[in-house]
Amino acid sequence: MATQHSRSAARLMMAPAVILLLGWMLVPLTMTLIFSFKKYLPLRGGDLGWVGFENYARFVSSSAFWPAVSATLIIVGGVLVITLVFGVLLAILLDQPMWGQGIVRILVIAPFFVMPTVSALVWKNIFMDPVNGLFAHLWKFFGAEPLEWLSQASLQSIILIVSWQWLPFATLILLTAIQSLDSEQLEAAEMDGAPVLKRFWFIVLPHLSRAMTVVLLIQTIFLLGIFAEIFVTTQGAFGTRTLTYLIYQRVLESQNVGLGSAGGVYAIILANIVAIFLMRIVGKNLDA
């Protein structure tokens, strides 16, 4: 349908975005690849020559590697499940007729505007501190021993903090989707005597599947790279060292850029595996 002319115009218009992103991807990626094959220790004079695959071998053989991969997947998976489940429930709730809907919506979306650093600091100190935190007071009020959140339930705590930040995003997208649901269809089902659960399962949920896919895709992209929440709270201790954090430790704390770069390449591979996996689901659901 499109003419040759509009095709070349289209290409021209796409060019700036594509070229910029290509540069943004290729330049650092190439440098990362080069560093990953080198012994590169900034505090020992920088570039100390090629070492082949030594960094790659060392990075995976480190006892920290597999726990880091699993911590990454647990955090990403945990947050996704929580935000999707509660997001759907919250979206349905907010879609009901009520007084002060606008204000409630404002309250619910607020956490999305909070900087990750700020939210991590506030949660860690003001809420989860085992002596002065609000939770500790609450636990003591009910006569329980205060929980040591960030050490005894470290992964759960991080998932809680991150979910709190992302729940508004999921809720908003799902709410917009639910509002576009044909209410006559629901009413017809109600008339036919279909119970609430059935209506939810066969009408609401299928209608939301596209929105859920979008939430899944976008959140995964952001969650794979979470850093501030871990840096501020546990600094990678107590099993919360994700792949991103492990790379940070190698590059900045150990000042081993070669080793960290090899880790970076692994992280890219992991991200791409996740991406292909996502694309399988998303591709079907999104006629992009």
Binding site: S63, P130, F231
Partner: protein, 431 residues
Amino acid sequence: MKNALRAATALALVTGAAQADTITIATVNNGDMIRMQGLTEDFTAKTGHEVEWVTLEENVLRQRVTTDITTKGGQFDIMTIGMYETPIWGANGWLVPLDDLSAEYDVDDILPAMRGGLSHDGTLYAAPFYGESSMIMYRTDLFEAAGVEMPDSPTWEFIRDAAAKITDRDNEIYGICLRGKAGWGEGGAFITAMSNSFGARWFDEDWNAQFDTAAWNDTLTFFNDMMQESGPAGFSTNGFNENLSLFQQGKCGMWIDATVAASFVTNPNDSEVADKVGFALAPHKDGIEKNGNWLWAWALGIPAGTQNVDAAKQFIEWATSKDYIELVASKEGWANVPPGARTSLYENPNYMEVPFAKMTLDSILSADPNNPTVDPVPYVGVQFAAIPEFAGIATEVSQEFSAVYAGQQSVEEALEKAQAITTDAMEAAGY
């Protein structure tokens, strides 16, 4: 006439430019540095130079300045660095040597321990803003009530018994508060200094990791047992700041930490227990001469390559001078001056009236970075080893230790992992 005017204007511009530089200083958000920031006007009034402050939390600061110095980014004219970084960076030629400071500055007045730790091959590379060791701060009232008397140089066994006696969990009083937080500068620093007093060491003379020794097992077991008995809830995430808060709120019977904390816990504005604090030397193990105290200085260094070396040097001379100490004393009182850097401060009768002055000096003098352990070691540094790899290794090792404190693994498991981590990292670095 016109030309003369123009020449005069040009001259004024040139001299004006030479006089009024703007220097950028990266610093930590510790109380003494924030006070220094507040006094910047005095420096500007004296020299005409303006100062831009980049104040960051310690971990962020380290990451920021290390990236900048290794890549020669040139973002800062002065960096606040410690005893760990200074000799390494100095050896790499990344810092401007401070060998031509003015006569009034009196460089020989700097405490020898501090000067030594901030030098490489006898050249000073960063001037100490304040220096510290560690010591015991304890609640005199609680000790009295429990009928225990603190000796000047207690043993670890005594500390453990006393802590157990004082602990009163129902009233949220914990016998002892110590750093359990992961990080080489947090829990890592404490346990390393403590291990010295148990006869342990990080490396033998051939740079082999020593976590498989009985001395390390004793250290970690003793620390963990004592803290489980008498420490506060969640001590595995407590660092300096957390313990300071707890102590100021009257929740700790003892706290072994940086000597600079003494001025915070005795300051009645912040501390509920200001008039009930006693001081003692950090403990040692029965039969071992070494005490478990460290040596540290926060110092100001100039990255090589900065355009504003002269202005930066002027700032360093101002901020680490005797006059600066006088200035702070006149505004905030002697207890709040930056301690531990100059000999003359400890000869000042006004300062020696401050209750913790003598114990601070004694602690500093008893730490020996060149000879930190019972058995000989190839490294310099008491609570760290001044090699570039140490920060990374010690952070990971201390994370394993913190997992012990949180009850997630045993002492043996942690030491085994620590041994593997250290061996692997040293291999990667080419030892």
